[in-house]
Amino acid sequence: MDISPILDGFGVVLEPTNLLYCLIGVIIGMLIGVLPGLGPGATIAILLPITYGIGPVSAIIMLAGIFYGAQYGGTITSVLLRLPGEASSVVTVFDGFALAKQGKAGTALGIAAIGSFIGGTVSIIGLTLVAPVVAGFALDFGPPEYAALGILGVLLISSIGNGNKLKAIIAACVGLLIATVGRDTFTGAERFTFGSLNLAEGIDFIPIAMGLFGLSEILYNLEERHNQVHAPAKVGNVWPSRKDLGQASGAIGRGSLIGFVLGVLPGGGAVLSSLAAYALEKRRAKQPERFGKGAVEGVAAPETANNAAATSSFIPLLTLGIPANATMALMFGALLIQGIQPGPQLVTEHPDVFWGVINSMYIGNILLLIMSIPMVGVFVRILRVRPAIMAPITVLITLLGAYTVRNQVYDIFLVIAFGVLGYLMKKFGFEPGPLVLAFVLGSMIESSARQGLLIFGGDPTGFVTRPISGTIFALILAVAAWPLIRKALPRKTSVERVEEKIK
């Protein structure tokens, strides 16, 4: 393996501007992880217009920093307030808050920070080793494979996310439909434009993401959801004792591996891996009853795993061009804005972006470790900022930011329209994530499918008979049929559950 591009990547990261954007990214990530209400997806969506002004490497370094920084920040609210800032920190609440009640909040935060750092770093090393190999393998993919991969990605994210699967897939299909608005690249025909010049250019990714992820979340939270202020528990010494560290080390090691593996799977990501890591530790423990009452491993395992997963979820994006979760869909969009097509060619055509982003994560994780151990007090104080003050400021950033992209008021109205759509979707149990993801992949899937049809001379069976695309379509069928299969075996699982309780 030729390591000179990797070293060049470090050169890219160490440029002062990139270091600065990395720092800004992780600070913003920590902040929004701590502040309730706005998740990393919403924040990245709101900040997308900024990426126009800065170079591609700096932009993606900053957005990535927000993403993994939020994983660190989310821990703080889970431990101190019993309010998971991010879905991936939900299980941390069980033992983290129990530790805080025993006056050991500092220990929990310290262990979580160290675990997060190790998990993140292990995962970056894995990413460095695995990503170029996967990318090399995927270079042989043709249009049929990409069409199949895109469909698989959309389906996986719809079916693994929380909420009703049927609704998620419907939302994804609506996203695919919205992606067709505008001029058809093959025939030049205008589709669903209703004679509007604005619509003929197609609907831009930024207003959709800002509206569905950013504004909809603010509108949704306006209904007095998070408006009460909580008094956080006191944080004592954050440096964990040697005994605690020893107890947590196994959990951190296993959490890193679980997180890395599950993070690669589309739709798996941080939430699933934190659950799996916690469950594994509880099973392996000699006294499982300690869990939920302040076991150090119960904090270490999920926090390590969610960071490792957050990092490794970059693999499918950077190597195949398939976003593994909704936040990666935003990264995909951000890269496209910069004129960079994520995919297997990325590592050879834009090594500065590829290695710059990966290597920036080492730096980012070190910065985050510093912020979450010696400087944790600063962020604990931020917990006292009332959401009522944050909301209008974020709204203004969103609306004015949307305007600045093309200096058109039309874009503001588009953001508002998609904000309302997202709000209504949430009210009626539809997740906006699959819609955005499908929108991002929509034109790629369509053009690959049509090119595929042309290659096969109009014979759709070609998609199934080519070995790789055939395999992917088999996987698609398996994913689609999985809920039905599971429904057919309800008895077995309940027996297992009883056994679980007897143990």
Partner: protein, 181 residues
């Protein structure tokens, strides 16, 4: 690092069931503030709206021309998606009745409606009188009435925030926002 007798992928699969229940309980507890679910009528309404989107897409794309498989027309792909939407929403109309994931609109939904009005107001006024006054009004309304802050902090924060925006957007980043000053 990992236990060789236990592959990391396999074990959590089963233990996950127990945990899932626990997590769901916790999430339910956290979302106590969530309004009660809205019942079968809104479920059916949502599914019917999705169905309508599908029908609209199908009719629209059929009109564009489907072409043939050897020469796909512009309408073929959207038509295929629309058919999937129609089928899935029809299934949802039938099976989704008992779902509990919708939220009832309550009095506090009026806050969202009011917030929405200020957003549209800002967008409409922006090209006419610049961003300063609409932003100031939006900040103030959100702080004082939607966020129930005190008069004093509402005034101070909204003026401070808009001033900061002015410095950031206009003076530092030199973005051509429409403005008064």
């Amino acid at each position: 690092m990992s236990d060789p007798t236990q592959p990391p992928g396999a074990a959590p699969e089963q233990a996950g069931l127990d945990l899932q229940e626990e997590t769901e309980r916790l999430q339910a507890e956290l979302e106590e503030a969530r309004p009660p679910h809205a019942g079968p009528i809104s479920q059916i309404a949502a599914a019917v709206v999705a169905l309508a989107v599908g029908v609209f897409g199908a009719v629209g794309s059929y009109a564009l021309g489907l072409g043939r498989l050897t020469q796909p027309g512009p309408g073929l792909w959207p038509f295929a998606i629309s058919v999937v939407i129609i089928v899935l929403s029809a299934v949802l109309v039938v099976t989704g009745r008992g779902l509990q994931d919708t939220e009832r609109f309550s009095r506090s939904s009026l806050l969202t409606a009011a917030g929405l009005v200020t957003l549209v107001g800002l967008a409409a006024l922006l090209p006419v009188i610049g961003f300063e006054i609409p932003s100031l009004l939006l900040m103030f309304i959100w702080l004082r009435w939607l966020g129930k802050e005190s008069w004093r902090s509402s005034i101070v924060i909204s003026i401070g925030a808009v001033a900061a925006f002015y410095v950031l957007f206009v003076l530092l980043l030199q973005i051509p926002l429409p403005r008064l000053i």
